[in-house]
């Protein structure tokens, strides 16, 4: 989908969040000098085409006490990777799950799943649950804990 100037204004007006008022789309429309119906139509079109993945809350894992965060990585057979990735994605302690290419010989893993817990022990237990789920399809796995945030910036919209 190609987005136009109005879509970009709408993205800029909403990328830090929706207003917490009974009619949030009307409030956004008023700020941009648009009709509420046009704002809703454009948001719906962007959601239908995948430009908007979803309208939702992002929980703060740290503030919720989930201070142990491990990137678990798995080498499973390609033929079953999609099916197994989908199963991992339904686990309630996994926040993100992706299929990615391997980088042999340094990196044999093709499934990545972020696992959150209150302690590293809890994360280790959850990792074992994933291991059990993968069963015989699993060839090797690892876990990488983040030890330092070196940079973190939000999505910045390029000039259109």
């Amino acid at each position: 989908m190609s987005i136009d100037t109005t879509d970009r204004r709408l993205i800029e007006a909403t990328q830090s969040g929706l207003p917490l008022v009974p009619e949030p789309y009307a409030a956004i429309a008023a700020g941009l000098g648009l009709d509420e119906s046009e704002v809703m139509q454009r948001l719906q079109a962007m959601q239908d085409s995948g430009v908007i993945r979803r309208i939702a809350v992002a929980p703060n894992h740290y503030a919720l006490g989930m201070v142990a965060n491990g990137m678990t990585v798995w080498d499973v057979e390609d033929a079953v990777a999609l099916n197994l990735g989908a199963q991992i994605g339904t686990l309630d302690f996994v926040s993100h799950c992706y299929l990615r290419p391997r980088a042999l010989p340094d990196w044999p893993y093709n499934l990545f799943a972020m696992v959150h817990g209150k302690t590293r022990d809890e994360v280790a237990t959850k990792r074992a649950e994933i291991r059990a789920l993968l069963g015989d399809a699993l060839r090797s796995d690892d876990i990488l804990y983040s030890t330092r945030i070196l940079k973190k910036t939000g999505l910045r919209l390029g000039k259109g």
């Binding site: 989908m1 987005i3 909403t14 990328q15 830090s16 969040g17 929706l18 917490l20 009974p22 009619e23 949030p24 789309y25 509420e36 809703m40 719906q44 962007m46 959601q47 995948g50 430009v51 908007i52 993945r53 979803r54 309208i55 939702a56 809350v57 992002a58 929980p59 894992h61 503030a63 919720l64 006490g65 990735g85 989908a86 994605g89 339904t90 309630d92 996994v94 926040s95 993100h96 799950c97 992706y98 299929l99 990615r100 290419p101 980088a103 340094d106 990196w107 990545f112 959150h116 990488l144 983040s146 030890t147 330092r148 945030i149 070196l150 940079k151 973190k152 999505l155 919209l157 390029g158």
Partner: protein, 150 residues
Amino acid sequence: MTALDDTDRRILNRLQEGFPITPHPFADVAAELGLEEDVLITRLARLKETRLITRFGPFYDAAAMGGAFCLCAMQVPEGDFDRVADLVNAHPEVAHNYERDHALNMWFVLATETEAGIGEVAKRIEAETGLTVLQFPKEHEFFIGFRVAA
């Protein structure tokens, strides 16, 4: 630390699944949860103020807007880590960068306007640092969900 009650948890879990694009979306979600509209809005405002949620709104996919994202990793010699981190972070295309406890100890996300931009920035970083940048583009994204344990 987590001053969440059952209602907060239900709100968090429900609103991770999506939010309607309707004239009165809070009223619609409140009705589903058996709450009043103003109670839902007040609780959301409190969750945001206390930073139990970092964001509430549309999540945009830069790739769908014509841009590209790629997870990258490097194996950086320990004594050289901070110097390399500065070189990598100096690129505006580097969105996140994490140190991780692995031989591949630097993991960052590149965000560029075009697909070709990923390779160009990776090449520049390789030239500046003398290190290999491994690229792990997303081939498939599975359902993202994270439930707050009841």
